[in-house]
Symmetry: C2
Subunit: 325 residues, 2 copies
């Protein structure tokens, strides 16, 4: 089932088929001929061979999606946004889950370079430097020099969360951060420090802990925070999952939220409002972020030099925050 079969059936040459089916027929092919070709293709159920097209054009119409953890709901949403935008634009999406830390940088590039992929969407992490260059890349949730990016207004979200806590009267505000040193998390740490200092509070070591995105590990870290001689009256978490860990830790120590300790998360994952009490958190439109990322990549592949774009976020105040006792 090739374009030759279609040509034979329509009684034209193969190149006429190609012209018609790739929409380059304007003013070159007569209407009846075009119609005949289309009908023949339809009847035969003809689909152009992607490999042949890619070989000829050098374009795969596929983008690689590099994510650190397919399992995290935030990434799930972002992936969906990116995937649907890509699909709508006629692009396929190749998924690569990158195992955390190691020299992951090589794997996806090695695997997907040289053919199957026209460009990359890197989630949360900086793309490997010093590749042969020339490939199209967009970074999500980071903003390295010289590479187009798309990210949340993390600064704004963090400031809103901390401002809320400060306005409630909290001063000893703890920070439960991600143990991943991605730029987006570095920003949260830095703004937390700044907020505390501006309120005359020292961002001391016993106010800060780190964990991976896992409820149990987050609980362990939260226990550190809550177990000191002068525990924080509120905890700002880099992520809702980490906030979930604080709930676990509070339960274990018999602490009530928000009476004994206020908690703020980030992302507004679905489960955030199922927790008891519902979590105050920063809402981020992950799906939109993913779609924006693809759009930016598409612009880049079309030869434009797209600027970085930032997506606003919004503090959602629920019931996990209250004035300190």
């Amino acid at each position: 089932m090739t374009s030759v079969d279609v040509a034979r059936r329509a009684g034209v040459s193969q190149s006429t088929v190609s012209l018609v089916l790739s929409g380059k027929s304007r003013g070159r092919i007569s209407a009846p001929t075009e119609e005949a070709v289309r009908r023949a293709a339809e009847e035969l159920g003809y689909r152009p061979n992607v490999a042949a097209r890619a070989l000829r054009t050098g374009l795969a119409r596929t983008v690689g999606l590099v994510v650190p953890d397919v399992t995290h709901p935030f990434f799930g949403l972002t992936m969906r946004g990116a995937q649907e935008a890509a699909f709508a634009a006629g692009y396929a999406v190749a998924l690569v889950n990158v195992p955390g830390d190691a020299d992951w940088q090589l794997a996806p590039l090695e695997a997907l370079r040289a053919g199957p992929v026209d460009g990359f969407l890197y989630f949360s992490v900086e793309p490997p430097r010093g590749g042969p260059g020339g490939e199209h890349i967009v970074v999500i949730e980071a903003s390295p020099d010289g590479i187009p990016w798309v990210r949340l207004d993390t600064e704004g979200g963090t400031d809103a969360a901390l401002g809320h806590l400060l306005a409630l009267g909290h001063r000893r505000i703890g920070h439960l951060g991600s143990s991943l040193s991605f730029p987006t998390f570095d920003i949260r740490t830095e703004r937390w420090r700044a907020a505390l200092e501006s309120a005359g509070e020292e961002p001391s070591a016993d106010l800060s802990a780190r964990a991976i995105f896992d409820f149990d590990d987050a609980a362990r870290a939260a226990l550190e925070l809550l177990g000191g001689p002068r525990p924080p009256t509120a905890i700002f978490c880099d992520d809702d999952i980490l906030a979930g860990g604080v709930y676990l830790a509070a339960r274990e120590r018999g602490l009530r939220i928000p009476e004994d300790v206020s908690v703020v998360g980030f992302d507004d994952l679905d489960f955030a409002h199922v927790l008891s009490p519902p979590l105050t958190t920063v809402l981020a439109d992950a799906e939109r972020l993913g779609a924006m990322a693809f759009e930016t990549l598409a612009a880049g592949m079309a030869g434009e030099a797209p600027p970085g774009r930032v997506l606003p976020v919004e503090l959602v105040v629920r019931e996990s925050t209250a004035p300190p006792r």
Copy 2:
């Protein structure tokens, strides 16, 4: 950067390069020649062009992953398992998120057929019938005739959950089911009916409700269940997210879990033990399921006719279940 460049640099012919680099050199190419070719390829950073290879061999070394909802953590895990197994076997994975209901059946096939994909992994849903056939398919969490599949021991898990509730003394056991009529959910419904009947209880309409995988919609459905004149003393949920909805509904009606109503979930998603109280649920190894699916597909593509495989599950009793009052 093609194999011709490598050949020129190594001072051999292009076909020698091809032979060496695709491992077909055994007993045909001399060691020094082989060494020279490898070094030249290395120095040039040569990567074979995937499109050309796919065109020539007819094999894309890519599998399509069709998921109904990338966002659901269970799928996230399954995807990761499948993706890593595929990657390890030298396969790329093309992701397709299928928007729930519509005539989604066409989209992925249309898009990925004829070239870019050697086989499909269908998550939870039956693959479209009546395609031209001939493609390699494995279905996850369904077991249609004549197509290889991989699934959980849903029967065992459901029976264990219901047995636990029955042993606790519950008789009026409600069922909060998925509104998707996938086989895996049909099984749960059917076993729930059977369990109730065997205990002399009528599986009446007011004991059954359905919702999509969304906490709020699940809460709405749970409210239906809990709001009747003779509400159930326990609720078996098709999924942990639905169970989360019961928590929401219970909170809204001032009902305590497990004192006023027991709850059992399915999947053991991460958040299940963060809920208050921790959720009793059926643990399923989603990641392993995904890996098994790819292995089955690989076997199929290698010409074997793999049997269906079922993965055992296990009831995890936590604190959301207790005897009825």
